[in-house]
Amino acid sequence: MKALLPCMMLLILASPLAAQDGLPPAPYANRQLDDPALEAEAQELMETLRCLKCQSQSIADSDAPMAGDMRSQVRMRLAAGERPEAIRGWLTARYGDYVSYKPQIGSATWPLFAIPPALLALAGLVLWRRLGHGAGRRP
Protein backbone atom coordinates (compact mmCIF):
# COMPACT_ATOMS: atom_id res chain seq x y z
CA MET A 1 0.00 0.00 0.00
CA LYS A 2 2.83 2.35 0.91
CA ALA A 3 4.57 1.65 -2.36
CA LEU A 4 1.37 2.26 -4.23
CA LEU A 5 0.97 5.83 -3.07
CA PRO A 6 4.08 7.26 -4.81
CA CYS A 7 3.07 5.41 -7.94
CA MET A 8 -0.35 7.04 -7.86
CA MET A 9 1.24 10.41 -7.23
CA LEU A 10 3.41 9.87 -10.29
CA LEU A 11 0.37 8.99 -12.33
CA ILE A 12 -1.29 12.25 -11.33
CA LEU A 13 1.81 14.27 -12.13
CA ALA A 14 2.49 12.56 -15.43
CA SER A 15 1.28 14.68 -18.31
CA PRO A 16 -1.30 12.76 -20.26
CA LEU A 17 0.20 11.16 -23.35
CA ALA A 18 -0.38 13.55 -26.18
CA ALA A 19 -3.20 12.08 -28.23
CA GLN A 20 -2.42 14.40 -31.09
CA ASP A 21 0.60 16.62 -31.46
CA GLY A 22 2.75 18.84 -29.34
CA LEU A 23 2.48 22.02 -31.35
CA PRO A 24 0.53 25.07 -30.19
CA PRO A 25 -2.69 25.80 -32.11
CA ALA A 26 -2.58 27.98 -35.23
CA PRO A 27 -2.68 31.75 -34.54
CA TYR A 28 -6.41 32.25 -35.03
CA ALA A 29 -7.62 28.78 -34.07
CA ASN A 30 -9.00 29.92 -30.73
CA ARG A 31 -8.65 33.66 -31.03
CA GLN A 32 -11.40 35.89 -32.33
CA LEU A 33 -10.82 38.55 -34.94
CA ASP A 34 -10.63 42.07 -33.56
CA ASP A 35 -13.38 43.32 -35.84
CA PRO A 36 -16.69 42.01 -34.39
CA ALA A 37 -18.47 42.17 -37.76
CA LEU A 38 -15.76 40.04 -39.42
CA GLU A 39 -15.74 37.65 -36.47
CA ALA A 40 -19.52 37.23 -36.82
CA GLU A 41 -19.03 36.37 -40.50
CA ALA A 42 -16.27 33.93 -39.56
CA GLN A 43 -18.47 32.30 -36.95
CA GLU A 44 -21.35 31.91 -39.38
CA LEU A 45 -19.05 30.36 -41.98
CA MET A 46 -17.26 28.05 -39.53
CA GLU A 47 -20.57 26.65 -38.32
CA THR A 48 -21.35 25.46 -41.83
CA LEU A 49 -17.95 23.90 -42.58
CA ARG A 50 -17.41 20.26 -41.73
CA CYS A 51 -14.50 19.11 -39.65
CA LEU A 52 -12.68 16.51 -41.75
CA LYS A 53 -11.33 14.57 -38.79
CA CYS A 54 -14.58 14.38 -36.83
CA GLN A 55 -17.11 14.42 -39.57
CA SER A 56 -20.29 15.00 -37.57
CA GLN A 57 -19.04 18.29 -36.18
CA SER A 58 -18.53 21.69 -37.68
CA ILE A 59 -15.09 23.23 -37.39
CA ALA A 60 -16.59 25.74 -34.95
CA ASP A 61 -17.52 22.89 -32.59
CA SER A 62 -14.49 20.67 -32.95
CA ASP A 63 -11.42 20.50 -30.78
CA ALA A 64 -9.40 18.56 -33.35
CA PRO A 65 -6.12 20.31 -34.21
CA MET A 66 -7.02 20.21 -37.89
CA ALA A 67 -10.31 21.99 -37.18
CA GLY A 68 -8.31 24.64 -35.34
CA ASP A 69 -6.06 25.02 -38.38
CA MET A 70 -9.14 25.39 -40.57
CA ARG A 71 -10.62 28.04 -38.24
CA SER A 72 -7.35 29.93 -38.36
CA GLN A 73 -7.37 29.83 -42.17
CA VAL A 74 -10.98 31.02 -42.30
CA ARG A 75 -10.30 33.95 -39.97
CA MET A 76 -7.05 34.95 -41.65
CA ARG A 77 -8.60 34.83 -45.11
CA LEU A 78 -11.56 36.92 -43.98
CA ALA A 79 -9.21 39.40 -42.35
CA ALA A 80 -7.30 39.57 -45.64
CA GLY A 81 -10.48 40.60 -47.39
CA GLU A 82 -11.74 37.34 -48.86
CA ARG A 83 -15.51 36.83 -48.90
CA PRO A 84 -17.03 33.90 -46.95
CA GLU A 85 -18.47 32.21 -50.04
CA ALA A 86 -15.07 32.43 -51.76
CA ILE A 87 -13.51 30.63 -48.79
CA ARG A 88 -16.22 27.97 -48.92
CA GLY A 89 -15.51 27.64 -52.63
CA TRP A 90 -11.78 27.25 -51.98
CA LEU A 91 -12.52 24.38 -49.60
CA THR A 92 -15.08 22.65 -51.83
CA ALA A 93 -12.53 22.81 -54.67
CA ARG A 94 -10.33 20.65 -52.42
CA TYR A 95 -12.72 18.41 -50.54
CA GLY A 96 -15.88 18.47 -52.63
CA ASP A 97 -19.35 19.40 -51.37
CA TYR A 98 -18.65 17.14 -48.43
CA VAL A 99 -16.84 19.86 -46.53
CA SER A 100 -19.83 22.22 -46.56
CA TYR A 101 -22.96 21.80 -44.50
CA LYS A 102 -24.77 24.43 -46.51
CA PRO A 103 -27.12 22.72 -48.97
CA GLN A 104 -26.34 23.56 -52.58
CA ILE A 105 -28.51 22.84 -55.60
CA GLY A 106 -26.42 20.75 -57.96
CA SER A 107 -26.66 17.88 -60.40
CA ALA A 108 -26.89 15.37 -57.54
CA THR A 109 -29.05 17.34 -55.14
CA TRP A 110 -31.74 18.97 -57.30
CA PRO A 111 -34.29 16.18 -56.68
CA LEU A 112 -34.18 17.02 -52.97
CA PHE A 113 -35.43 20.49 -53.81
CA ALA A 114 -37.71 19.53 -56.72
CA ILE A 115 -39.55 16.57 -55.20
CA PRO A 116 -41.36 18.31 -52.29
CA PRO A 117 -43.10 20.95 -54.45
CA ALA A 118 -43.90 18.25 -57.02
CA LEU A 119 -45.49 16.05 -54.33
CA LEU A 120 -47.41 19.02 -52.94
CA ALA A 121 -48.73 19.84 -56.39
CA LEU A 122 -49.73 16.20 -56.90
CA ALA A 123 -51.51 16.10 -53.54
CA GLY A 124 -53.29 19.33 -54.39
CA LEU A 125 -54.42 17.92 -57.71
CA VAL A 126 -55.73 14.73 -56.10
CA LEU A 127 -57.58 16.74 -53.45
CA TRP A 128 -59.04 19.04 -56.06
CA ARG A 129 -60.39 16.11 -58.04
CA ARG A 130 -61.67 14.32 -54.94
CA LEU A 131 -63.52 17.39 -53.79
CA GLY A 132 -65.54 17.25 -56.91
CA HIS A 133 -64.07 19.90 -59.12
CA GLY A 134 -62.41 17.57 -61.56
CA ALA A 135 -63.85 16.35 -64.80
CA GLY A 136 -63.86 12.74 -63.62
CA ARG A 137 -66.63 13.44 -61.10
CA ARG A 138 -68.08 10.31 -59.53
CA PRO A 139 -71.56 10.03 -58.08
Binding site: D21, P27, K53, P65, D69, M70, Q73, R94, Y95
Partner: protein
Protein backbone atom coordinates in the same frame (compact mmCIF):
# COMPACT_ATOMS: atom_id res chain seq x y z
CA UNK B 1 -57.11 -3.37 -61.88
CA UNK B 2 -58.47 -2.20 -58.53
CA UNK B 3 -56.93 -5.10 -56.63
CA UNK B 4 -53.57 -4.31 -58.13
CA UNK B 5 -53.91 -0.71 -56.97
CA UNK B 6 -54.69 -1.81 -53.43
CA UNK B 7 -51.24 -3.37 -53.08
CA UNK B 8 -49.37 -0.42 -54.51
CA UNK B 9 -48.74 1.45 -51.20
CA UNK B 10 -47.44 -1.73 -49.58
CA UNK B 11 -45.14 -2.32 -52.55
CA UNK B 12 -43.79 1.23 -52.28
CA UNK B 13 -43.24 0.72 -48.55
CA UNK B 14 -41.46 -2.61 -49.14
CA UNK B 15 -39.29 -0.92 -51.75
CA UNK B 16 -38.39 1.78 -49.25
CA UNK B 17 -37.51 -0.84 -46.61
CA UNK B 18 -35.35 -2.72 -49.09
CA UNK B 19 -33.51 0.48 -50.03
CA UNK B 20 -32.96 1.47 -46.40
CA UNK B 21 -31.77 -2.07 -45.59
CA UNK B 22 -29.36 -2.11 -48.52
CA UNK B 23 -27.93 1.27 -47.51
CA UNK B 24 -27.51 0.12 -43.91
CA UNK B 25 -25.62 -2.97 -45.06
CA UNK B 26 -23.09 -0.91 -46.95
CA UNK B 27 -19.73 -0.68 -45.18
CA UNK B 28 -19.03 2.65 -43.55
CA UNK B 29 -17.25 5.01 -45.87
CA UNK B 30 -15.94 8.16 -44.23
CA UNK B 31 -12.99 8.73 -46.52
CA UNK B 32 -12.82 12.21 -48.01
CA UNK B 33 -11.04 12.03 -51.35
CA UNK B 34 -9.14 15.07 -52.56
CA UNK B 35 -10.74 16.97 -55.41
CA UNK B 36 -7.24 18.18 -56.33
CA UNK B 37 -6.28 14.95 -58.10
CA UNK B 38 -5.47 15.87 -61.70
CA UNK B 39 -4.56 19.43 -60.82
CA UNK B 40 -1.19 21.08 -60.33
CA UNK B 41 0.23 21.27 -56.82
CA UNK B 42 -0.55 24.59 -55.19
CA UNK B 43 2.43 26.84 -54.46
CA UNK B 44 4.06 26.34 -51.10
CA UNK B 45 7.38 26.62 -49.32
CA UNK B 46 7.96 24.74 -46.08
CA UNK B 47 10.89 24.97 -43.70
CA UNK B 48 12.92 21.78 -43.09
CA UNK B 49 11.24 19.51 -40.55
CA UNK B 50 14.58 17.99 -39.47
CA UNK B 51 18.17 19.21 -39.63
CA UNK B 52 19.53 16.52 -41.96
CA UNK B 53 17.02 16.91 -44.76
CA UNK B 54 16.09 19.96 -46.85
CA UNK B 55 12.72 21.62 -46.56
CA UNK B 56 10.14 21.33 -49.29
CA UNK B 57 8.80 23.75 -51.88
CA UNK B 58 6.29 22.99 -54.63
CA UNK B 59 8.78 24.12 -57.29
CA UNK B 60 11.11 21.26 -56.25
CA UNK B 61 8.49 18.67 -57.04
CA UNK B 62 9.01 18.52 -60.79
CA UNK B 63 11.25 16.65 -63.19
CA UNK B 64 10.45 13.07 -62.25
CA UNK B 65 7.51 11.22 -60.75
CA UNK B 66 7.60 11.00 -56.98
CA UNK B 67 5.60 10.27 -53.89
CA UNK B 68 4.52 13.03 -51.53
CA UNK B 69 3.92 11.41 -48.16
CA UNK B 70 1.89 13.28 -45.55
CA UNK B 71 2.88 11.96 -42.12
CA UNK B 72 3.49 12.88 -38.50
CA UNK B 73 5.50 11.47 -35.62
CA UNK B 74 2.31 11.38 -33.53
CA UNK B 75 0.50 9.27 -36.12
CA UNK B 76 0.32 5.57 -35.28
CA UNK B 77 -0.58 4.21 -38.76
CA UNK B 78 2.50 6.08 -40.06
CA UNK B 79 4.58 3.55 -38.13
CA UNK B 80 2.78 0.73 -39.93
CA UNK B 81 3.58 2.12 -43.38
CA UNK B 82 7.28 2.77 -42.65
CA UNK B 83 8.48 -0.63 -43.98
CA UNK B 84 6.53 -0.11 -47.20
CA UNK B 85 8.02 3.36 -47.68
CA UNK B 86 11.46 1.84 -47.11
CA UNK B 87 10.76 -0.76 -49.79
CA UNK B 88 9.62 1.92 -52.23
CA UNK B 89 12.74 3.99 -51.50
CA UNK B 90 14.90 0.88 -52.05
CA UNK B 91 13.26 0.50 -55.47
CA UNK B 92 14.53 3.96 -56.36
CA UNK B 93 11.34 5.93 -55.77
CA UNK B 94 11.83 9.56 -54.76
CA UNK B 95 9.81 10.19 -51.62
CA UNK B 96 9.24 13.68 -50.28
CA UNK B 97 7.59 14.13 -46.93
CA UNK B 98 5.43 16.70 -45.22
CA UNK B 99 5.34 16.45 -41.43
CA UNK B 100 2.05 17.76 -40.05
CA UNK B 101 2.09 19.74 -36.80
CA UNK B 102 5.34 18.27 -35.59
CA UNK B 103 8.39 19.32 -33.58
CA UNK B 104 11.84 18.75 -35.13
CA UNK B 105 13.01 16.60 -32.21
CA UNK B 106 9.90 14.42 -32.46
CA UNK B 107 10.32 13.95 -36.22
CA UNK B 108 14.02 13.11 -35.74
CA UNK B 109 13.17 10.53 -33.08
CA UNK B 110 10.45 9.02 -35.28
CA UNK B 111 12.81 8.73 -38.26
CA UNK B 112 15.63 7.29 -36.14
CA UNK B 113 13.31 4.58 -34.90
CA UNK B 114 11.31 3.71 -38.03
CA UNK B 115 13.65 4.70 -40.87
CA UNK B 116 14.04 7.74 -43.08
CA UNK B 117 13.06 7.14 -46.72
CA UNK B 118 12.67 10.85 -47.48
CA UNK B 119 14.66 13.03 -49.86
CA UNK B 120 13.26 16.17 -48.25
CA UNK B 121 10.81 16.87 -45.46
CA UNK B 122 8.83 20.07 -45.07
CA UNK B 123 7.20 21.06 -41.80
CA UNK B 124 3.54 22.03 -42.07
CA UNK B 125 2.85 23.52 -38.65
CA UNK B 126 -0.69 24.75 -39.26
CA UNK B 127 -1.82 22.10 -41.80
CA UNK B 128 -1.83 24.83 -44.47
CA UNK B 129 -0.35 22.72 -47.28
CA UNK B 130 -2.41 19.74 -46.15
CA UNK B 131 -5.58 21.79 -46.61
CA UNK B 132 -4.34 23.25 -49.89
CA UNK B 133 -3.93 19.80 -51.47
CA UNK B 134 -7.18 18.42 -50.10
CA UNK B 135 -5.70 15.94 -47.67
CA UNK B 136 -7.89 15.22 -44.68
CA UNK B 137 -5.65 13.16 -42.43
CA UNK B 138 -2.39 11.32 -41.85
CA UNK B 139 -1.01 9.28 -43.41
CA UNK B 140 -1.82 10.07 -47.01
CA UNK B 141 0.40 9.61 -50.03
CA UNK B 142 0.14 11.51 -53.30
CA UNK B 143 1.71 10.54 -56.61
CA UNK B 144 3.12 13.69 -58.24
CA UNK B 145 3.86 13.54 -61.96
CA UNK B 146 6.98 15.10 -63.55
CA UNK B 147 5.02 18.27 -64.38
CA UNK B 148 4.19 18.76 -60.71
CA UNK B 149 0.58 17.64 -61.04
CA UNK B 150 -1.24 15.55 -58.42
CA UNK B 151 -1.83 12.30 -60.25
CA UNK B 152 -3.14 10.00 -57.54
CA UNK B 153 -4.08 10.00 -53.87
CA UNK B 154 -3.64 7.06 -51.51
CA UNK B 155 -5.60 7.54 -48.29
CA UNK B 156 -4.46 5.78 -45.13
CA UNK B 157 -1.33 3.77 -44.48
CA UNK B 158 0.46 2.05 -47.35
CA UNK B 159 0.07 -1.68 -46.81
CA UNK B 160 2.24 -4.37 -48.33
CA UNK B 161 -0.34 -4.98 -51.07
CA UNK B 162 -0.39 -1.28 -52.02
CA UNK B 163 3.30 -1.09 -52.95
CA UNK B 164 2.86 -2.56 -56.43
CA UNK B 165 -0.11 -0.33 -57.14
CA UNK B 166 1.89 2.78 -56.24
CA UNK B 167 4.85 1.60 -58.33
CA UNK B 168 2.49 1.16 -61.26
CA UNK B 169 1.02 4.63 -60.82
CA UNK B 170 4.53 6.11 -60.69
CA UNK B 171 5.49 4.23 -63.82
CA UNK B 172 2.39 5.43 -65.67
CA UNK B 173 3.29 9.00 -64.87
CA UNK B 174 6.97 8.66 -65.68
CA UNK B 175 6.30 7.93 -69.33
Amino acid sequence: MNRWRLWLPLAVFAGFLALAGAMLMRPRDDVVASAMVGQPLPDFTLRPAVTDRPGLASRDLVGRPRLLNIFASWCVPCIAEAPQLARLAARGVVIDGIAIRDRPEDVARFLARYGNPYRAIGADDVSAVQLAIGSSGVPETFVIDPAGRIAYQHIGEIRAEDVDKLLKKLEEDGT
